[in-house]
Symmetry: C2
Subunit: 449 residues, 2 copies
């Protein structure tokens, strides 16, 4: 249980470097919630992380792993020997196993499966019929289920069995004889009721239901906006697969926004702060390679005007300004669009209005900064023509940036490509190429006459 | 109440454009949760938004406003006349008033205050003693409070008064005679107890407490990780100020991550998709201006080498590649660091290790891509020296980018400047200037000998 102080990771990380503090470190970590342990472990270099993790109680070990980012977790797995892995999975419930599925070596996974009883195995099999981005796979079984024709006293008895630290367990999930989900019974709604009353009269049937095939992000949004602490996840026949709680919804919302942020730099949200150098270099190399292609495309565009540059070297000096202003203006529009798309706020009905608005913003800022840049250029090079050329190129590039900023993300979304990941590369390719082309092209036209 | 379908904003927005569908639109919106109404309204251009909003029930009007992004909300306020504003605030509770404080015209705010009773006014005054990023200001009063020496029957009675749609109300907040917070009583823990028993034996004193002076983000993290649906917010004397619920925590977490994302493009998370063109242009102009300064700095650096460029125009063609590769590599490190800092995972103890790791990643990718670029350059210009120069400049710039990517955000954080907002501008200034300087400087050294 956390006390009322914010989590002090700095203190914990410091302890992890001091072998004499090992015991104290374990104490401190054990007092935290699993999510907090996960964050603290991620903040440690792999060596310290592994030894801090090994000091934990098996339940905390599993809790921390399931809450860690995949790469950070993987870097612990890699340090464990066969026996440690086996011991670890022996304590795992099906929920945990599903979460860790992709990172466990096959033979360890098989070993874990062989230890499950029939009902757990059937649960695992049902979960695995859903894709790894669907709610059906992650529906948790940490829920209290009661039959529709039970009495109030049965519900009370069931609630009273709850452990003290049960999370988001203020309602029972009601099923009918065939296993179909029928609604919720809230603890607050049956307080003080006579114990012989049929439960059926107190079922809340208004709670939204999460279909197992829904994407995890959508399911999480439904839970987070519903005002309920957990909702039922059901299969195509309406049978109860498990629940999605507000705690998991919150973690999913967090991950999904974090991934949007990381994607802007071509990174994965699972990236470990302390990944081995070589792993990290390998992963990032691809993004640099893609960027290199676009940089060469920009260079090629410049190369078309070698003769012009040779005669008017001022153009070479100024050309990055044109490209950069376009890139910045475009990425503002792009970022606004990506957020809107993520919230599903961009609809065909408003494409054109958004376009007109962004075009207007681009035109105003284009003209404004074109004048400023033209004036500075004149002061610098004492040449009104170069000033006029750069001003015109800036207007063109900022307007093109606005258009690209609106339509590139819409188009990527239609192609099912994540605009947060690919949008900025494509956009800057456009603004670089158009920027250089417009500026050097106008320069060729007006200065080499 | 939402049904089991994900929110269909596209459909709602389409209706908002059709005057014949006004009634149907109101129906659809009324069936949504306030947060969903807010998202749907934000997806409409201002004209449609205002008329859709005016059609809502007063409670939904207020609920939608308090959940909307500030600018989107403001664009509704601007369309309301004096009487509409007065009618609106008449239905507001203190919670809502605090939320909308900054956007209400002063006279409307005064009018709203004049209608509060003494206890509400005292609550408002207490809340306003806290800063607008502190938990004390936003602690909500939508909580059930019970005295420490009450009996189980009192608690049951209190719970039974709850409205059907009460959110996250599965526990009572216990206070002692002096108004100090003493713990929680969970509905599930008093089910089936004899009604004459003293409540005191069933108080959960383990729940974390949120200090009123804590930042809202920190308080929200505590709530979201605690496993409780709501925690007490207390003042310096331990008196109960209100509660922070998981619902609000989730919204705060969402906003804070969204702002991180929007800041990378110099935008505010409150930015309205359909802001008036001029407002939007004005707000974005500043960011373009800051960028312009850095672009001129880069141009100035290039200008130092005019003589070189005049003689070897290939350098002008290739120089954007050096700057761009540095910028991309640096922003990967920067993004990783910003996430780590936001999670408080970057501690002084590990600065050096992170630096060494990023330096290693930079060195590997620097050398790798330097070789590739050198080879392509040779093929393009048939000149090994230029190839060697660009390769060396790339290595230098990617290594500088790694160093900057680690230390710029740490340094900004120490100065209390948001690294998500300023980090990338400073970083690209460094990588542009160093990139151009290294490449053109080496060019001058080796090609003009």
């Amino acid at each position: 249980m956390a006390d009322n102080q914010p989590l002090d990771i700095e203190d914990i990380v410091r302890d992890s470097f001091d072998e004499n503090e090992a015991e104290q470190l374990t104490d401190k970590l054990s007092q935290l919630e699993p999510e907090e342990i996960a964050i603290a472990l991620e903040a440690m270099p792999v060596e310290q992380r592994v030894s801090a993790w090994l000091g934990l109680h098996p339940d905390d070990q599993i809790g921390a792993l399931t809450h860690m980012r995949v790469d950070a977790r993987d870097n612990i797995f890699k340090q464990l020997d066969e026996q440690q892995l086996r011991t670890l999975v022996e304590g795992m419930e099906v929920d945990d196993l599903i979460e860790l599925l992709d990172e466990l070596p096959q033979r360890i996974y098989n070993y874990a499966c062989s230890r499950l009883d029939a009902s757990q195995r059937s649960w695992l099999e049902t979960a695995l019929t859903y894709d790894d981005d669907q709610c059906g796979r992650y529906a948790d079984h940490d829920l209290l289920i009661i039959n529709k024709n039970a009495k109030v006293r049965d519900a009370v008895r069931l609630f009273r069995k709850l452990a003290d630290d049960a999370e988001y367990q203020d309602a029972l999930f009601v099923i009918d004889r065939t296993g179909r989900y029928a609604g919720l019974v809230h603890a607050t709604q049956i307080l003080g009721l006579a114990s012989h009353l049929p439960l059926e009269n107190f079922i809340d049937t208004d709670a939204p239901i999460v279909d197992g095939t829904l994407e995890l992000d959508q399911g999480s949004d439904i839970v987070s906006r519903s005002g309920y602490t957990a909702l039922a996840v059901t299969d195509a026949e309406g049978k109860l697969l498990g629940r999605l709680s507000i705690g998991e919804a919150l973690e999913n919302v967090r991950r999904s926004l974090e991934s949007q942020f990381m994607h802007t730099a071509g990174l994965d949200e699972e990236e470990d702060l302390f990944a081995p150098v070589f792993d990290s270099a390998k992963r990032r190399a691809l993004w640099l390679g893609i960027n290199l292609l676009t940089a060469f495309l920009a260079a090629y565009t410049i190369g078309l005007f070698e003769a012009t540059l040779q005669q008017v070297v001022a153009l070479a000096v100024l050309m990055p300004i044109v490209a950069s202003m376009g890139g910045i203006a475009g990425s503002q529009t792009l970022t606004l669009m990506i957020r809107g798309l993520a919230l599903e706020q961009i609809t065909p009905k408003t494409y054109l209005m958004l376009f007109r608005k962004e075009l207007g913003v681009g035109a105003i800022n284009g003209v404004l900064w074109a004048l400023v840049i033209a004036a500075i250029t004149y002061l610098w090079f004492g040449d009104w023509i170069i000033g006029g050329i750069i001003g015109l190129a800036i207007v063109i590039n900022i307007v093109v940036a606005a258009i690209s900023g609106v339509f590139i993300p819409i188009w990527l979304e239609k192609l099912n490509i994540d605009p947060a990941l690919s949008g900025s590369v494509i956009l800057t390719t456009v603004t670089d190429v158009i920027g250089f082309f417009a500026f050097l092209g106008l320069g060729t036209l007006f200065l080499l006459a």
